[in-house]
Protein backbone atom coordinates (compact mmCIF):
# COMPACT_ATOMS: atom_id res chain seq x y z
CA UNK A 1 0.00 0.00 0.00
CA UNK A 2 1.36 3.38 -0.85
CA UNK A 3 1.34 6.18 1.61
CA UNK A 4 -0.61 9.03 0.07
CA UNK A 5 -1.00 11.16 3.16
CA UNK A 6 2.58 12.19 3.77
CA UNK A 7 5.40 13.63 1.78
CA UNK A 8 7.64 10.67 1.22
CA UNK A 9 11.31 10.88 0.61
CA UNK A 10 12.84 9.46 -2.52
CA UNK A 11 12.58 5.70 -2.72
CA UNK A 12 15.74 3.69 -2.89
CA UNK A 13 18.98 3.51 -1.03
CA UNK A 14 20.89 6.52 0.19
CA UNK A 15 24.62 6.10 0.38
CA UNK A 16 26.80 8.89 1.67
CA UNK A 17 29.31 10.02 -0.93
CA UNK A 18 32.61 8.22 -0.65
CA UNK A 19 35.66 10.01 -1.92
CA UNK A 20 38.56 8.05 -3.13
CA UNK A 21 40.83 8.66 -0.19
CA UNK A 22 43.78 6.52 0.57
CA UNK A 23 42.69 6.11 4.19
CA UNK A 24 39.25 4.96 3.31
CA UNK A 25 40.43 1.97 1.39
CA UNK A 26 41.79 0.79 4.67
CA UNK A 27 38.39 0.97 6.23
CA UNK A 28 36.58 -0.94 3.58
CA UNK A 29 39.14 -3.68 3.70
CA UNK A 30 39.16 -3.94 7.49
CA UNK A 31 36.66 -6.71 7.62
CA UNK A 32 36.36 -9.55 9.99
CA UNK A 33 35.06 -10.08 13.45
CA UNK A 34 36.95 -8.31 16.19
CA UNK A 35 35.25 -10.08 19.10
CA UNK A 36 35.49 -13.60 20.37
CA UNK A 37 32.95 -15.95 18.74
CA UNK A 38 30.89 -16.18 21.92
CA UNK A 39 30.97 -12.52 22.94
CA UNK A 40 28.09 -10.17 22.27
CA UNK A 41 28.55 -6.50 21.62
CA UNK A 42 28.35 -4.07 24.51
CA UNK A 43 24.94 -2.61 25.04
CA UNK A 44 23.47 0.28 26.94
CA UNK A 45 19.98 -0.01 28.41
CA UNK A 46 18.02 2.55 30.34
CA UNK A 47 14.45 2.63 31.56
CA UNK A 48 12.14 5.55 32.06
CA UNK A 49 13.09 7.66 29.07
CA UNK A 50 9.58 8.61 27.95
CA UNK A 51 7.75 10.48 30.74
CA UNK A 52 4.29 10.22 29.19
CA UNK A 53 4.35 6.43 28.80
CA UNK A 54 3.55 3.96 31.58
CA UNK A 55 6.93 2.41 31.03
CA UNK A 56 9.74 2.94 28.60
CA UNK A 57 13.26 1.87 27.82
CA UNK A 58 16.08 2.73 25.45
CA UNK A 59 18.64 0.30 24.11
CA UNK A 60 21.80 1.06 22.28
CA UNK A 61 24.18 -1.57 21.00
CA UNK A 62 27.77 -0.60 20.51
CA UNK A 63 28.89 0.19 17.03
CA UNK A 64 31.32 -2.40 15.89
CA UNK A 65 34.98 -1.59 15.63
CA UNK A 66 34.68 -0.63 11.99
CA UNK A 67 33.89 3.07 11.67
CA UNK A 68 30.84 3.76 9.63
CA UNK A 69 29.00 0.73 10.88
CA UNK A 70 26.15 2.01 12.93
CA UNK A 71 24.88 0.24 15.97
CA UNK A 72 21.32 -0.52 16.89
CA UNK A 73 19.29 2.13 18.66
CA UNK A 74 15.86 1.20 19.95
CA UNK A 75 13.31 3.15 21.88
CA UNK A 76 10.40 1.31 23.44
CA UNK A 77 7.35 2.71 25.17
CA UNK A 78 4.60 0.77 26.90
CA UNK A 79 1.15 2.30 27.23
CA UNK A 80 -1.32 0.70 29.52
CA UNK A 81 -2.93 -1.28 30.98
CA UNK A 82 -5.80 0.66 29.55
CA UNK A 83 -9.35 -0.08 28.59
CA UNK A 84 -10.03 -1.92 25.37
CA UNK A 85 -11.78 -0.16 22.53
CA UNK A 86 -15.54 -0.58 22.50
CA UNK A 87 -15.45 -2.79 19.44
CA UNK A 88 -13.10 -5.34 21.01
CA UNK A 89 -14.64 -8.53 22.36
CA UNK A 90 -14.50 -9.43 26.04
CA UNK A 91 -11.09 -10.70 27.06
CA UNK A 92 -10.30 -12.27 30.43
CA UNK A 93 -6.61 -11.56 29.77
CA UNK A 94 -4.57 -8.55 28.91
CA UNK A 95 -4.52 -7.98 25.16
CA UNK A 96 -0.99 -7.44 23.96
CA UNK A 97 -0.37 -5.41 20.86
CA UNK A 98 3.10 -4.78 19.57
CA UNK A 99 4.25 -2.29 17.00
CA UNK A 100 7.74 -2.28 15.64
CA UNK A 101 8.64 0.51 13.25
CA UNK A 102 11.88 1.44 11.63
CA UNK A 103 12.40 5.16 11.47
CA UNK A 104 12.45 6.29 7.82
CA UNK A 105 16.13 7.11 8.16
CA UNK A 106 17.10 4.05 10.17
CA UNK A 107 18.42 1.93 7.36
CA UNK A 108 20.21 2.40 4.12
CA UNK A 109 17.04 1.59 2.25
CA UNK A 110 14.64 4.35 3.19
CA UNK A 111 11.55 3.12 5.04
CA UNK A 112 8.10 4.47 4.60
CA UNK A 113 5.94 5.87 7.34
CA UNK A 114 3.58 2.93 7.24
CA UNK A 115 4.68 -0.41 8.56
CA UNK A 116 5.78 -2.76 5.84
CA UNK A 117 5.44 -6.57 6.02
CA UNK A 118 8.87 -7.10 7.54
CA UNK A 119 8.07 -4.70 10.34
CA UNK A 120 4.77 -6.44 10.97
CA UNK A 121 6.66 -9.68 11.06
CA UNK A 122 8.97 -8.32 13.73
CA UNK A 123 5.93 -7.23 15.71
CA UNK A 124 4.43 -10.69 15.57
CA UNK A 125 7.67 -12.33 16.67
CA UNK A 126 7.97 -9.84 19.50
CA UNK A 127 4.42 -10.49 20.61
CA UNK A 128 5.07 -14.23 20.72
CA UNK A 129 8.21 -13.68 22.76
CA UNK A 130 6.50 -11.42 25.28
CA UNK A 131 3.30 -13.39 25.59
CA UNK A 132 5.23 -16.23 27.18
CA UNK A 133 6.68 -13.88 29.74
CA UNK A 134 3.78 -11.77 30.96
CA UNK A 135 1.12 -13.01 33.34
CA UNK A 136 -1.84 -12.10 31.21
CA UNK A 137 -4.70 -12.98 33.54
CA UNK A 138 -3.66 -10.42 36.16
CA UNK A 139 -5.21 -7.72 34.01
CA UNK A 140 -8.60 -8.72 32.66
CA UNK A 141 -10.40 -6.55 30.14
CA UNK A 142 -7.44 -4.38 29.41
CA UNK A 143 -4.92 -3.86 26.68
CA UNK A 144 -1.31 -2.86 26.59
CA UNK A 145 0.47 -1.33 23.62
CA UNK A 146 4.17 -1.88 23.15
CA UNK A 147 5.63 0.47 20.61
CA UNK A 148 9.21 0.17 19.49
CA UNK A 149 10.90 2.65 17.22
CA UNK A 150 14.11 1.51 15.64
CA UNK A 151 15.93 4.79 15.55
CA UNK A 152 19.00 3.36 13.95
CA UNK A 153 19.14 0.01 12.26
CA UNK A 154 22.15 -2.20 12.51
CA UNK A 155 23.55 -1.65 9.04
CA UNK A 156 26.86 -1.09 7.43
CA UNK A 157 26.42 2.16 5.59
CA UNK A 158 29.74 1.88 3.84
CA UNK A 159 29.11 -1.50 2.31
CA UNK A 160 28.47 -0.93 -1.33
CA UNK A 161 26.58 -4.13 -1.96
CA UNK A 162 23.49 -5.20 -0.21
CA UNK A 163 24.35 -8.76 0.58
CA UNK A 164 20.79 -9.88 0.92
CA UNK A 165 21.40 -9.43 4.60
CA UNK A 166 18.17 -7.68 5.42
CA UNK A 167 16.83 -10.79 7.15
CA UNK A 168 19.96 -11.19 9.25
CA UNK A 169 19.66 -7.59 10.32
CA UNK A 170 16.06 -8.22 11.26
CA UNK A 171 17.18 -10.96 13.62
CA UNK A 172 19.54 -8.63 15.44
CA UNK A 173 16.80 -6.03 15.57
CA UNK A 174 14.34 -8.57 16.99
CA UNK A 175 16.66 -9.66 19.75
CA UNK A 176 17.16 -6.02 20.70
CA UNK A 177 13.41 -5.44 20.57
CA UNK A 178 12.76 -8.32 22.95
CA UNK A 179 15.30 -7.09 25.48
CA UNK A 180 14.16 -3.49 25.37
CA UNK A 181 10.49 -4.46 25.59
CA UNK A 182 11.16 -6.59 28.67
CA UNK A 183 12.81 -3.62 30.36
CA UNK A 184 9.92 -1.33 29.43
CA UNK A 185 7.32 -3.85 30.65
CA UNK A 186 9.09 -4.14 34.00
CA UNK A 187 9.18 -0.36 34.17
CA UNK A 188 5.47 -0.18 33.43
CA UNK A 189 4.68 -2.55 36.30
CA UNK A 190 3.09 -5.29 34.25
CA UNK A 191 3.42 -8.71 35.84
CA UNK A 192 5.99 -10.94 34.16
CA UNK A 193 7.11 -14.41 35.17
CA UNK A 194 10.67 -13.54 34.28
CA UNK A 195 12.82 -11.05 32.42
CA UNK A 196 12.94 -12.14 28.83
CA UNK A 197 15.91 -11.26 26.68
CA UNK A 198 16.78 -11.96 23.08
CA UNK A 199 19.91 -13.47 21.63
CA UNK A 200 21.13 -14.26 18.14
CA UNK A 201 23.52 -16.95 17.01
CA UNK A 202 24.60 -17.61 13.47
CA UNK A 203 26.48 -20.14 11.46
CA UNK A 204 28.96 -18.17 9.39
CA UNK A 205 31.50 -18.90 6.77
CA UNK A 206 34.57 -16.70 6.63
CA UNK A 207 36.79 -16.08 3.64
CA UNK A 208 36.58 -18.79 1.08
CA UNK A 209 33.95 -21.30 0.20
CA UNK A 210 35.81 -24.30 1.51
CA UNK A 211 36.50 -23.15 5.08
CA UNK A 212 34.50 -24.85 7.80
CA UNK A 213 31.52 -22.89 9.04
CA UNK A 214 31.68 -21.66 12.62
CA UNK A 215 29.02 -20.58 15.07
CA UNK A 216 29.19 -17.05 16.39
CA UNK A 217 26.83 -15.10 18.63
CA UNK A 218 25.51 -11.62 17.83
CA UNK A 219 26.66 -11.66 14.19
CA UNK A 220 27.16 -8.55 12.12
CA UNK A 221 26.51 -9.48 8.49
CA UNK A 222 29.19 -7.17 7.16
CA UNK A 223 31.85 -8.83 9.29
CA UNK A 224 31.43 -12.20 7.70
CA UNK A 225 31.73 -13.48 4.22
CA UNK A 226 28.51 -15.39 4.31
CA UNK A 227 25.87 -16.25 6.87
CA UNK A 228 24.49 -19.73 6.33
CA UNK A 229 21.89 -19.84 9.07
CA UNK A 230 20.87 -17.84 12.08
CA UNK A 231 18.45 -18.14 14.95
CA UNK A 232 16.97 -15.60 17.31
CA UNK A 233 15.94 -16.91 20.70
CA UNK A 234 13.83 -15.29 23.41
CA UNK A 235 14.76 -16.98 26.64
CA UNK A 236 13.60 -16.86 30.26
CA UNK A 237 16.68 -17.55 32.39
CA UNK A 238 15.14 -18.50 35.74
CA UNK A 239 12.46 -20.61 34.14
CA UNK A 240 14.87 -22.06 31.59
CA UNK A 241 12.25 -21.67 28.90
CA UNK A 242 12.35 -20.43 25.34
CA UNK A 243 9.37 -18.27 24.46
CA UNK A 244 10.19 -17.58 20.84
CA UNK A 245 12.52 -19.17 18.35
CA UNK A 246 13.09 -17.83 14.89
CA UNK A 247 15.32 -19.95 12.72
CA UNK A 248 16.38 -19.15 9.23
CA UNK A 249 18.85 -20.46 6.73
CA UNK A 250 20.24 -23.69 5.38
CA UNK A 251 22.04 -26.22 7.51
CA UNK A 252 23.98 -29.14 6.10
CA UNK A 253 21.79 -32.17 6.61
CA UNK A 254 24.76 -34.28 7.61
CA UNK A 255 25.22 -32.57 10.95
CA UNK A 256 22.17 -33.01 13.14
CA UNK A 257 23.73 -31.47 16.23
CA UNK A 258 24.29 -28.20 14.45
CA UNK A 259 20.71 -27.13 14.94
CA UNK A 260 20.74 -27.67 18.70
CA UNK A 261 24.16 -26.14 19.13
CA UNK A 262 22.99 -23.07 17.24
CA UNK A 263 19.99 -22.72 19.52
CA UNK A 264 22.22 -23.24 22.55
CA UNK A 265 24.49 -20.45 21.39
CA UNK A 266 21.45 -18.27 20.93
CA UNK A 267 20.42 -19.00 24.51
CA UNK A 268 23.90 -18.14 25.64
CA UNK A 269 23.70 -14.79 23.84
CA UNK A 270 20.33 -14.19 25.45
CA UNK A 271 21.79 -14.91 28.89
CA UNK A 272 24.48 -12.34 28.25
CA UNK A 273 21.89 -9.78 27.22
CA UNK A 274 19.86 -10.67 30.28
CA UNK A 275 22.76 -9.71 32.51
CA UNK A 276 22.61 -6.20 31.10
CA UNK A 277 18.85 -6.18 31.55
CA UNK A 278 19.07 -7.25 35.19
CA UNK A 279 21.75 -4.66 35.84
CA UNK A 280 19.60 -1.97 34.27
CA UNK A 281 16.50 -2.94 36.22
CA UNK A 282 18.31 -3.06 39.55
CA UNK A 283 19.65 0.38 38.77
CA UNK A 284 16.10 1.52 38.07
CA UNK A 285 14.72 0.24 41.32
CA UNK A 286 17.43 1.73 43.52
Amino acid sequence: MTDRRRINGPAGATVPPIFDDAGLQDLTSSKGRSRAPNAIRKMYLKTGVTPSASGSAYLEIETSATPGVSGLKLSCSVHGPRSLPRSAPFSPHIVLSTHVKYAPFATKQRRGYLRDPSERDLGIHLEAALRGAIIADRWPKSGVDIIISIVEGDQDREASRLQGDEVWDMMNALSGCITVAAAALADAGIDCVDTVAGGVAALVQNAGEDSTPTIVVDPIPSEHERILAACCVAYLPTRDEVTNLWFRGDLPASDLDLYTSLVEKGIQASKNANRVLVGCLSETVE
Binding site: T47, P51, S54, D187, D191, V193, R239, V278, S282
Partner: protein, 227 residues
Amino acid sequence: MTTTPPTLALPGQLLGPAARYQPGPGTHLHDANLYASLLGQVHITQPARAPGPAKRLTKITPAPAPAELPTISVAVAASNTLPPGAERDVNKNKNKRREVLPEVGNVVLCRVIRITPRQAVVAILVCGDTVLEAEWQGLIRVQDVRATEKDRVRIYESFRPGDVVRAEVISLGDQANYYLSTTRNELGVVLAVSEAGNTMQPVSWKEFRDPETGAMELRKVAQPQPE
Protein backbone atom coordinates in the same frame (compact mmCIF):
# COMPACT_ATOMS: atom_id res chain seq x y z
CA MET B 1 16.92 -23.19 54.99
CA THR B 2 16.42 -19.74 56.47
CA THR B 3 17.31 -17.34 53.70
CA THR B 4 15.78 -13.93 53.98
CA PRO B 5 14.03 -12.60 50.89
CA PRO B 6 15.70 -9.72 49.07
CA THR B 7 14.61 -6.15 49.70
CA LEU B 8 14.41 -5.35 46.01
CA ALA B 9 13.09 -7.75 43.46
CA LEU B 10 13.22 -8.10 39.71
CA PRO B 11 10.63 -10.05 37.73
CA GLY B 12 11.44 -13.72 38.03
CA GLN B 13 13.49 -13.40 41.20
CA LEU B 14 13.05 -16.10 43.82
CA LEU B 15 11.45 -14.78 46.99
CA GLY B 16 11.08 -17.91 49.05
CA PRO B 17 9.24 -21.19 49.37
CA ALA B 18 5.47 -21.15 49.25
CA ALA B 19 5.40 -22.95 52.60
CA ARG B 20 6.69 -19.84 54.33
CA TYR B 21 4.81 -17.03 52.67
CA GLN B 22 1.46 -16.34 51.15
CA PRO B 23 1.59 -14.83 47.68
CA GLY B 24 0.57 -11.17 47.64
CA PRO B 25 0.32 -8.69 44.80
CA GLY B 26 3.27 -8.63 42.46
CA THR B 27 4.29 -12.22 43.09
CA HIS B 28 3.53 -15.53 41.46
CA LEU B 29 3.78 -19.16 42.36
CA HIS B 30 5.84 -21.61 40.36
CA ASP B 31 6.99 -25.07 41.43
CA ALA B 32 6.06 -24.47 45.11
CA ASN B 33 8.24 -21.39 45.16
CA LEU B 34 7.25 -17.76 45.15
CA TYR B 35 8.79 -15.51 42.54
CA ALA B 36 8.48 -11.79 42.00
CA SER B 37 6.54 -10.71 38.96
CA LEU B 38 7.11 -7.00 39.25
CA LEU B 39 10.07 -4.71 39.61
CA GLY B 40 10.08 -3.07 43.02
CA GLN B 41 10.44 -3.36 46.74
CA VAL B 42 9.57 -6.48 48.67
CA HIS B 43 7.17 -6.08 51.55
CA ILE B 44 6.33 -8.75 54.07
CA THR B 45 3.06 -8.25 55.91
CA GLN B 46 2.48 -10.26 59.04
CA PRO B 47 -1.00 -11.75 59.41
CA ALA B 48 -3.47 -9.19 60.66
CA ARG B 49 -4.40 -10.89 63.91
CA ALA B 50 -2.53 -13.41 65.93
CA PRO B 51 -4.14 -16.82 65.87
CA GLY B 52 -5.64 -16.55 69.36
CA PRO B 53 -8.32 -18.69 70.98
CA ALA B 54 -11.01 -19.12 68.41
CA LYS B 55 -14.53 -18.07 69.17
CA ARG B 56 -17.13 -20.72 69.43
CA LEU B 57 -18.28 -21.46 65.94
CA THR B 58 -21.92 -20.82 65.30
CA LYS B 59 -21.72 -21.75 61.67
CA ILE B 60 -19.51 -23.90 59.55
CA THR B 61 -16.78 -21.90 57.84
CA PRO B 62 -13.89 -23.09 55.71
CA ALA B 63 -10.82 -23.69 57.79
CA PRO B 64 -8.61 -20.58 57.71
CA ALA B 65 -5.47 -22.65 57.44
CA PRO B 66 -3.14 -20.58 55.26
CA ALA B 67 -4.00 -17.30 56.97
CA GLU B 68 -1.22 -17.65 59.51
CA LEU B 69 1.56 -17.22 56.99
CA PRO B 70 2.95 -13.75 56.38
CA THR B 71 2.08 -12.29 53.01
CA ILE B 72 4.92 -11.33 50.71
CA SER B 73 4.30 -8.77 48.01
CA VAL B 74 6.24 -6.65 45.57
CA ALA B 75 5.23 -3.05 45.07
CA VAL B 76 6.47 -0.82 42.32
CA ALA B 77 8.87 1.70 43.80
CA ALA B 78 7.78 5.31 43.64
CA SER B 79 9.49 7.70 41.23
CA ASN B 80 11.05 4.94 39.24
CA THR B 81 10.16 6.56 35.97
CA LEU B 82 11.94 9.80 36.58
CA PRO B 83 13.10 11.09 33.22
CA PRO B 84 16.60 12.48 33.09
CA GLY B 85 16.77 16.15 33.99
CA ALA B 86 13.21 16.38 35.28
CA GLU B 87 13.97 17.21 38.89
CA ARG B 88 11.06 19.57 39.14
CA ASP B 89 8.59 16.81 38.51
CA VAL B 90 9.81 14.73 41.43
CA ASN B 91 6.65 15.26 43.44
CA LYS B 92 4.43 14.40 40.54
CA ASN B 93 6.31 11.20 39.90
CA LYS B 94 6.44 10.24 43.56
CA ASN B 95 2.68 10.18 43.59
CA LYS B 96 2.59 7.89 40.62
CA ARG B 97 0.97 4.69 41.68
CA ARG B 98 0.53 1.48 39.91
CA GLU B 99 -2.56 1.34 37.87
CA VAL B 100 -5.24 -0.70 39.55
CA LEU B 101 -8.04 -2.35 37.70
CA PRO B 102 -11.49 -2.40 39.24
CA GLU B 103 -12.14 -5.85 40.68
CA VAL B 104 -15.31 -7.54 41.83
CA GLY B 105 -16.15 -6.29 45.33
CA ASN B 106 -14.28 -2.99 45.06
CA VAL B 107 -16.06 0.21 46.00
CA VAL B 108 -15.49 2.76 43.29
CA LEU B 109 -16.36 6.39 42.68
CA CYS B 110 -17.74 7.16 39.27
CA ARG B 111 -19.39 9.94 37.31
CA VAL B 112 -22.65 9.41 35.48
CA ILE B 113 -22.22 9.96 31.76
CA ARG B 114 -25.68 9.23 30.39
CA ILE B 115 -28.87 7.58 31.52
CA THR B 116 -31.47 5.47 29.78
CA PRO B 117 -34.62 3.99 31.32
CA ARG B 118 -32.81 0.67 31.84
CA GLN B 119 -29.35 1.69 32.96
CA ALA B 120 -26.96 4.47 33.83
CA VAL B 121 -23.61 4.57 32.08
CA VAL B 122 -20.82 5.80 34.30
CA ALA B 123 -17.08 6.43 34.07
CA ILE B 124 -15.13 4.86 36.91
CA LEU B 125 -12.67 7.40 38.26
CA VAL B 126 -11.47 6.14 41.63
CA CYS B 127 -11.05 2.55 42.72
CA GLY B 128 -10.69 2.11 46.48
CA ASP B 129 -8.19 4.83 47.39
CA THR B 130 -6.47 4.91 44.03
CA VAL B 131 -7.21 7.44 41.34
CA LEU B 132 -7.20 5.46 38.13
CA GLU B 133 -5.07 6.66 35.28
CA ALA B 134 -7.33 5.27 32.64
CA GLU B 135 -11.06 5.81 32.62
CA TRP B 136 -13.11 2.64 32.69
CA GLN B 137 -16.72 2.48 31.71
CA GLY B 138 -19.30 1.02 34.03
CA LEU B 139 -22.99 0.31 33.98
CA ILE B 140 -25.57 0.53 36.76
CA ARG B 141 -28.61 -1.43 35.66
CA VAL B 142 -32.04 -0.52 36.95
CA GLN B 143 -32.28 -3.70 39.03
CA ASP B 144 -28.98 -2.91 40.76
CA VAL B 145 -29.91 0.56 41.98
CA ARG B 146 -31.45 -0.46 45.29
CA ALA B 147 -32.24 -3.64 47.14
CA THR B 148 -35.93 -3.08 47.82
CA GLU B 149 -38.85 -2.38 45.50
CA LYS B 150 -36.66 -3.03 42.52
CA ASP B 151 -39.60 -2.89 40.16
CA ARG B 152 -40.43 0.68 41.17
CA VAL B 153 -36.93 2.03 40.53
CA ARG B 154 -36.68 4.65 37.87
CA ILE B 155 -33.23 5.54 36.65
CA TYR B 156 -34.03 9.23 36.17
CA GLU B 157 -35.24 9.41 39.78
CA SER B 158 -31.96 7.84 40.93
CA PHE B 159 -29.17 9.35 38.87
CA ARG B 160 -28.61 12.31 36.61
CA PRO B 161 -25.69 12.87 34.25
CA GLY B 162 -22.84 14.56 36.09
CA ASP B 163 -23.58 13.01 39.50
CA VAL B 164 -20.71 11.42 41.38
CA VAL B 165 -21.76 7.99 42.58
CA ARG B 166 -20.21 5.58 45.02
CA ALA B 167 -20.86 2.03 43.83
CA GLU B 168 -19.66 -1.49 44.19
CA VAL B 169 -18.31 -3.61 41.34
CA ILE B 170 -20.45 -6.73 41.01
CA SER B 171 -19.10 -8.12 37.75
CA LEU B 172 -16.42 -7.59 35.17
CA GLY B 173 -19.36 -7.36 32.83
CA ASP B 174 -19.24 -7.46 29.07
CA GLN B 175 -16.51 -6.29 26.74
CA ALA B 176 -17.02 -2.60 27.40
CA ASN B 177 -18.59 -2.16 30.83
CA TYR B 178 -18.04 -3.14 34.41
CA TYR B 179 -21.35 -3.82 36.14
CA LEU B 180 -21.86 -1.76 39.26
CA SER B 181 -24.42 -1.82 42.02
CA THR B 182 -25.66 0.69 44.59
CA THR B 183 -27.82 -1.69 46.63
CA ARG B 184 -26.36 -0.71 50.00
CA ASN B 185 -27.23 2.27 52.17
CA GLU B 186 -23.79 3.81 51.95
CA LEU B 187 -23.76 3.51 48.16
CA GLY B 188 -25.40 5.93 45.79
CA VAL B 189 -25.07 9.54 44.74
CA VAL B 190 -22.55 11.41 46.89
CA LEU B 191 -22.32 14.62 44.92
CA ALA B 192 -25.10 16.08 42.85
CA VAL B 193 -25.64 19.38 41.14
CA SER B 194 -29.14 20.81 40.81
CA GLU B 195 -30.73 22.07 37.65
CA ALA B 196 -29.91 25.59 38.79
CA GLY B 197 -26.26 24.59 38.94
CA ASN B 198 -25.76 24.51 42.72
CA THR B 199 -24.21 21.68 44.68
CA MET B 200 -27.03 20.06 46.62
CA GLN B 201 -27.26 18.62 50.11
CA PRO B 202 -28.73 15.23 50.89
CA VAL B 203 -31.86 15.45 53.00
CA SER B 204 -33.25 11.92 52.91
CA TRP B 205 -32.50 8.53 51.39
CA LYS B 206 -34.03 9.61 48.13
CA GLU B 207 -33.84 13.37 48.04
CA PHE B 208 -31.30 16.14 47.57
CA ARG B 209 -32.11 19.79 48.25
CA ASP B 210 -30.69 22.81 46.55
CA PRO B 211 -29.64 25.13 49.40
CA GLU B 212 -30.30 28.30 47.39
CA THR B 213 -33.55 27.68 45.58
CA GLY B 214 -34.86 25.10 48.01
CA ALA B 215 -35.87 22.82 45.18
CA MET B 216 -35.87 19.09 45.87
CA GLU B 217 -34.52 16.55 43.43
CA LEU B 218 -34.81 12.80 43.55
CA ARG B 219 -31.69 10.65 43.73
CA LYS B 220 -30.52 7.33 45.15
CA VAL B 221 -28.71 9.05 47.98
CA ALA B 222 -25.64 7.53 49.59
CA GLN B 223 -25.79 7.59 53.36
CA PRO B 224 -23.26 10.23 54.45
CA GLN B 225 -20.28 8.49 56.02
CA PRO B 226 -18.54 9.88 59.10
CA GLU B 227 -15.00 10.97 58.25
